[in-house]
Subunit: 210 residues, 2 copies
């Protein structure tokens, strides 16, 4: 059980992180102004700069916080999803994928895209520190699928690059989010993830034994 009452400082910090994540997800890094952030978080600039060295420092903290939160949320959603019938690790990977899809859909109701995707798009080619960290985030996302995919491949005695497929999954998710924002169509994400699952299933049925 978590502490029921948190110190004021922790609350302030968390509120800033939460609002910043929202704003970064909706407006991106460069269009999010410190001033509007402190208004949204209902703190003063003094409080903000007490907790963070600056906007860059904040962004890094937001990323860290987001990745932790994300993992927990994903676990929670996944637990609410029906157990897969058999013991096929592929179905476990798909379950995780469904959970990710569900999370995306829930988030999108508040508008905005993927926080990591937004930051990656805005900063990858100008800020090496961010590029590196965001690459790790994508790796972390992919890693969630990789193990199960590797197992599934081993079970079938298939010679597939499970890391590559895991990355592919992340690409599809990010791409689908990007498109869904312009089309204002949340179904698109679900639709495309469905297709992705079918494609992967087929590729694991194909005869490509070693």
């Amino acid at each position: 059980m978590r502490d029921l009452k948190q110190s004021r400082a922790v609350q302030t910090r968390k509120k800033i992180l939460r609002e910043a994540a929202q704003l970064f997800a909706r407006k991106g890094f460069h269009d999010t102004k410190v001033d509007e952030l402190i208004k949204a978080a209902e703190v003063t600039s003094g409080a903000f700069f007490h907790h963070f060295k600056g906007k860059d420092d904040l962004a890094i903290a937001v990323i860290d916080h987001h990745m932790e939160q994300r993992g927990r949320t994903l676990d929670r959603i996944e637990k609410g999803l029906p157990e897969p019938d058999g013991s096929d690790p592929l179905e476990l990977a798909f379950r995780r994928l469904d959970a990710a899809c569900e999370m995306v859909v829930r988030r999108r109701n508040r508008k905005g895209g993927c926080l990591i995707g937004n930051l990656a798009t805005a900063l990858s080619d100008t800020r090496p520190e961010f590029r590196k960290r965001l690459g790790e985030c994508f790796d972390e996302m992919a890693a969630e699928f990789e193990i199960n995919l590797a197992e599934a491949a081993a079970d079938r005695d298939l010679d597939v690059d499970s890391r590559e497929i895991a990355r592919y999954i992340v690409s599809v998710i990010e791409g689908a989010i990007m498109l869904s924002r312009t089309q204002r169509d949340l179904g698109l994400v679900q639709q495309q993830i469905q297709r992705l699952k079918e494609d992967i299933r087929r590729s694991f049925q194909a005869e490509v034994p070693r």
Copy 2:
């Protein structure tokens, strides 16, 4: 044949558009400052504001110009690619996809991501006019594949949603570009597009007749 000599005004305008496209692709909309643009394009702010009402107006013009250019470049690259063996429209779609891949790879050598993807990420949830236009751009990209996919489906008497698949292709491209920027790995785009082709090929071999 194009005019060998263009009026100074047209040249200026084009130079601004070209540099703006580069900057938007690398740094995104909000991090591209008018000041650095006019320096990159070697024009004065007077010239810039004579040709464009402002930054927003410029962005729209850049999008239009980019989409025209893109179509032409794609056609040119495609012509340089080997003709597909049979008369399968699916192979035509794949050829177009290879051309798109080649274009992405060439561009990425100069750093930066997809101009449309960047703008979509930065503006979709805050600027409805841009969201609409960028959605059309994605539709246009998808449309290039849709016809061939529909034909291929008809040939095989398959009941598939070719528009959905076409959009899926765009998602994968955009997602792959996003990831490749953080990983600094151009091979990733090619790799993932290869996988996409295999997946589509399999899905067109699958028995899903109507």
